[in-house]
């Protein structure tokens, strides 16, 4: 590999200028010739039979080109349990259910047409909590399963059960045991760009989707299945991703509105765009999975963890998306955060008439870590051990295998804990607290920490964790990198450019990324699991090596040397051992020991029997799918981190202010510190919002705060004073030593803040969000007399 020139440097994002000047084309900006506008009518009932839908008036409205209901479309089962349909037929199961779709020549006419639709419902009893849904005689949300067999219960046939060692025996032998019950709620991804798509058929009935998906190649598969159901079995699908205004997991599934756009485009023969309003984004987009979590942990007399026992009930909502599979990642911290030999984790998902959930940054990990890390503080207190010392005592170490059979190759957890402890001034704070100096008047200060483990080297959640990449050198000496990775704001294009330039030995100005188009770019399983820096980065290293090999073969003839004698830097091929001026990496320009890449490639193209230089790689990492017992080395490397916060709680109002926020992350190696810190800042604010203020509020299934006024996403003024601390462990599996860091930052925020609140006021907040009202209520319950 060539010398490192760009990797590790804080280079600005390649798309920064386009985005800040408004030049970047988001789906909101895009129009196609002859395009129609689609709009969706959602249910007005939580659970009801659809007796009749009268669309006559809507269809007659001038400018309307198509009106569709569930009765007008073929059966297109959606979601991994195949329990959802683009437009619902027969009955609705939640307020977010799509029942009618209209395409018209303007969005206003489409909206007016929806107002003319008359729907008659026959309301059914509804259930809004898992407990009610599991009660005897509860109404069934789905009467039939995916195979049309009658079901008996609202419980999903998805038994999550991980058993390592013997929890019951370990419990009996534990010196200290702590128990807790924790609860998290629905939150929205709040992507600044709302959902949207344009579906367009050409005259050969091939479909192009102008899209914002994170999973273009899996989405292609879903759309092809829909086309087949529509009788278009020979149609092809091309996906062209636009500039994406935030992903965070919200685009990891294909959604009803995308299929509705396809159906409307097919019905009208025109391109159809569906663009969500913010209100619609709140109403119809699936959220983070809420969870009710019971946890018990124990330790021996010295404080070493003996067991961890977790039981969860998940409110699945009315349909399944990836939310129902988040226990697969909840297992990661439950089995493997700190060394704990005996683990039991059981989770069940239950249908209700609420919103359904999907992937969201951390994929279940923030929920599980809230329970685990809050409960670790409880246990440390039981054992009379300082919470940081307790964690250090139990911290994972490099070269160990966890009970779930994860191979921890490198682990910077202890270093993260120590750095956060020292940055916070943990010992000074302890002393000040003992001296009664941390509370003054009606304000009390507290400190808390929480750690995380997450996949850092891809995640084999599908049979493949693969990534295809093609590199092409042109005769101007420019390198095009064709990748299946999707830029969703995380900065993958910039980091790939750095790694590609260094792996070949080129100037970064000569390297461009070509992506976001399934017709042009090779296959990739998706932009998820914090995997692209690791996976696409490894692909870039492999592919770059192949380009170098081919270039050196070409140059060998030109420079009269063996390929092994050559090297490349700054887009110039040179003889490695050639004489050169002091301090110069390259031999003198007139020496005959060097040749610019552009010149070399022109000679290769413009000569008889010429050649071109391209390379391709399909990188699929050596990680494992979880087996039947949910065990196996899911990821090639594991990311760790610790967040430490100091808060000040107003004892009279319950308001929590974050005074200090240190986020230490074992990232393997930092590819671009500026972008990395950007990920940490963003994740810290997202995690703090999850902890303190964000909550989709449902009353009997109906959302009461579906807008940015009432949904309290934190603002720039709600300053979370984040200080990122980068810990480098240089994992040999990663490109240049890197691990993924896209999701981890938001994982430990809530428990760190909850632990700090406990330290400040002696009250443990066990439900998110920890709003001032909830904090004050908890204070009053704990100290009724003050």
């Amino acid at each position: 590999m060539s010398p490192v020139n760009y990797v590790g440097k804080s280079l600005p994002r390649g798309d920064a200028r386009e985005k800040v000047t408004g030049r970047a084309v988001y789906i909101n900006d895009l129009k196609r010739p002859g395009m129609l506008y689609g709009k969706i009518l959602y249910s007005q009932q939580a659970h009801a039979r659809i007796k009749n839908i009268d669309t006559t008036k809507a269809a007659r409205l001038p400018g309307v080109r198509a009106v569709l209901t569930g009765e007008d479309i073929p059966d297109i089962p959606l979601g991994f349990m195949r329990d959802n349909r683009p437009l619902k037929k027969g009955k609705v199961r939640s307020y977010r259910d799509e029942i009618v779709a209209v395409a018209a020549i303007s969005p206003e006419i489409a909206a007016e047409a929806l107002e003319l639709v008359e729907v008659e419902y026959e309301p059914l009893p509804a259930v809004f909590t898992p407990q009610d849904a599991l009660a005897d005689g509860a109404p069934l949300i789905h009467e039939l399963d995916a195979r049309n067999k009658p079901v008996k219960s609202n419980k999903l046939k998805l038994p999550w059960r991980l058993i390592c060692g013997d929890v019951d025996q370990a419990r009996g032998k534990s010196a200290y045991v702590a128990q807790g019950r924790y609860r998290t709620t629905w939150v929205n991804h709040c992507c600044l760009g709302t959902s949207g798509v344009i579906a367009e058929f050409d005259l050969n009935r091939n479909l192009t989707m102008y899209s914002i998906t994170q999973i273009p190649y899996l989405a292609q598969n879903d759309y092809l299945a829909a086309l087949k159901a529509m009788g278009l079995k020979d149609s092809q699908v091309r996906i062209r991703c636009q500039t994406i205004g935030g992903g965070f997991g919200s685009k990891l599934d294909t959604h009803c509105y995308e299929f509705i756009a396809i159906l409307l485009a097919n019905a009208t023969g025109r391109p159809v765009k569906i663009q969500f309003s913010r209100e619609e984004e709140f109403l119809a987009q699936a959220t983070r999975q809420p969870a009710i979590m019971e946890i018990t942990q124990g330790c021996d007399a010295e404080g070493r963890l003996t067991f961890r026992d977790v039981h969860m009930v998940l409110d699945n909502g009315a349909y399944t998306s990836w939310g129902a599979t988040t226990p697969s990642v909840m297992m990661v911290p439950i089995s493997s955060l700190y060394r704990v030999p005996n683990v039991r984790f059981v989770a069940e998902s239950v249908y209700t008439n609420n919103l359904y959930s999907q992937a969201m940054r951390g994929y279940g990990n923030p929920q599980a870590t809230f329970a685990v890390e809050s409960n670790i503080d409880q246990l440390a207190e039981e054992a009379g051990i300082d919470p940081v010392e307790f964690r250090l005592l139990n911290a994972n170490q490099s070269n160990e295998i966890t009970p779930q059979k994860f191979k921890i190759t490198t682990c910077g957890l202890s270093e993260c804990l120590e750095k956060v402890r020292d940055s916070l001034g943990w010992q000074q704070h302890r002393k000040a607290k003992a001296a009664g100096e941390t509370s003054t008047g009606y304000k009390a200060r507290g400190q808390g920490v929480a750690s995380l483990i997450h996949v850092g080297g891809g995640a084999r959640v599908y049979r493949s964790d693969g990534h295809g990449m093609i590199m092409k050198l042109d005769d101007f000496g420019k390198l095009k990198v064709f990748t299946g990775a999707v830029e969703i704001g995380q900065g993958v294009d910039t980091v790939l450019r750095q790694m590609a330039a260094d792996s070949v030995g080129m100037r970064i100005e000569d390297v461009d990324i070509v992506s976001h188009d399934t017709d042009i770019c090779p296959w990739d399983v998706g932009t998820h699991a914090s995997r692209q820096t690791f996976i696409a980065g490894n692909a870039a290293c492999h592919c770059g090596r192949e380009i170098r090999r081919k270039v050196f073969e070409l140059a060998a003839g030109q420079l009269n040397r063996d390929p092994e004698e050559l090297d490349m830097f700054d887009s110039v091929v040179y003889v490695r051992d050639a004489p050169r001026e002091p301090g110069q990496r390259l031999p003198p320009a007139d020496s005959g020991d060097r040749i610019p890449l552009a010149k070399l490639l022109r000679k290769a193209h413009f000569s008889t029997g010429g050649t071109m230089v391209m390379a391709e790689v399909f990188y699929d990492p050596p990680n494992q799918m979880l087996d039947r017992e949910f065990k196996g080395n899911l990821s090639c490397s594991w990311a760790f981190g610790t967040t430490g916060v100091e808060v000040e709680v107003d004892l009279k109002t319950g308001h929590v202010e974050i005074l200090k926020y240190f986020a230490a992350h074992d990232v393997g190696a930092s590819m671009n510190p500026m972008l990395l810190e950007g990920q940490v800042y963003g994740a810290a604010v997202m995690g703090s919002g999850y902890a303190l203020s964000e909550e989709v509020r449902l009353r009997e299934g109906r959302m009461v705060n579906g807008n940015f006024l009432d949904y309290k996403m934190l603002t720039a003024l709600d300053k979370v004073p984040v200080t990122p601390i980068i810990v480098e462990t240089f994992d040999s599996a990663g490109p240049y030593g890197a691990k993924g860091v896209g999701e981890p930052g938001c994982v430990p925020s809530a428990p760190a803040i909850a632990n700090a609140i406990y330290d400040a006021i002696g009250v443990r907040l066990d439900s998110l969000p920890m709003t001032p009202e909830n904090v004050l209520a908890a204070l009053k319950e704990r100290f009724p007399d003050s």
């Binding site: 206003e108 109002t653 009353r699 009461v704 934190l714 001032p772 009202e773 004050l776 209520a777």
Partner: protein, 295 residues
């Protein structure tokens, strides 16, 4: 929002004429930060909008004979940046500072806040405490309505349909050597872009002895269907030692007698009550602190 006529008068007379012709079918719009929200929610019941942004005499801040004349179309940003407001009316400055965001303050006007008359309107408590007067003009002439008589019901003012808010007059609290200051607190779930869960405004005048209260004004928002002044408490405080205004007991009494708190999706009544108990004393203490009086 389609098929809405848009008028752009440049004088008050032109605006009044359009309004007179169209009656309830026309609606005034200044910054649009309330009107456009209603329109988007399809709650705006009119077919014409009369913009007040091009009428110069409606905007601006000037001081004459110890009275601050505040044009209703003055933006919140202009109020925030006005030195006299910051110096003489900290109670109003406090309120404007925590309204919306920079972009919204650049659009929103103080007159809009008054005429929307939401119980949560952040300038309303301060204007009540400052004994501001509204100048309402109509084709029939002009009348002056004390702020205290403006808020007659939920989102309803004393202005007749043909009347336009043409000016706000605020007598300077410290006129004639009086010792006075005020403070405003707003309780929100985040630091910006938020509506008050409750808000509290307190303006105090103290006697030359600096130990007893000469006059008090207390107001609360989202504590009742309209912004309310806590008049009984104001009267009881006259002549009392300054520390009395900062006592929780005083706040508790005021809440019991003069507020009507309710549960909503945004906040529960018990928490609102609890916060009034906390914020009334804190606002009073800050007002005293601003006069250099420690309690």
């Amino acid at each position: 929002m389609k098929n809405i006529e848009y008028f752009k008068p440049t004088t008050i007379d032109q605006a009044l004429r359009v309004k007179q012709e169209m009656g309830r079918e026309a609606c005034y719009i200044a910054g649009g930060t309330d009107v456009l929200v209603l329109a988007r929610e399809k709650k705006l019941d009119c077919r014409a909008l009369i913009s007040l942004r091009r009428i110069p005499e409606l905007a601006g801040i000037s001081l004459q004979d110890d009275v601050l004349h505040l044009g209703p179309a003055t933006t919140l940003t202009d109020i925030l940046e006005n030195g006299e407001v910051a110096r003489e009316l900290p109670i109003l400055h406090d309120a404007v500072q925590v309204m919306g965001s920079t972009q919204m303050r650049n659009m929103a006007t103080v007159g809009g806040n008054v005429m929307t008359a939401a119980s949560s309107g952040d300038t309303l408590g301060p204007l009540l405490c400052l004994d501001a007067v509204c100048r309402l003009v109509s084709p029939g002439g002009e009348r002056r309505v004390p702020m205290d008589e403006m808020f007659v019901g939920p989102r309803t003012t004393a202005a007749e349909p043909d009347e336009l808010l043409a000016g706000l007059e605020i007598p300077l609290p410290a006129a004639g050597g009086a010792i006075s200051s005020g403070a405003f607190f707003k309780l929100t779930r985040r630091a910006a872009m938020d509506l008050a869960l409750i808000n509290v405004a307190v303006q105090l005048w103290v006697n030359p002895d600096r130990a007893t209260i000469a006059k008090a004004r207390l107001a609360a928002g989202v504590a009742a269907p309209t912004p309310v002044r806590l008049k009984q408490t104001e009267e009881e405080l006259v002549g009392a030692p300054v520390a009395e205004a900062t006592k929780e007991q005083v706040a508790i009494r005021a809440i019991g007698r003069e507020c009507r708190l309710r549960d909503s999706d945004r906040c529960s009544a018990w928490y609102r009550e609890e916060m009034l108990r906390v914020l009334i004393p804190r606002a009073a203490a800050l007002a005293l602190e601003r006069m250099g009086i420690a309690v």
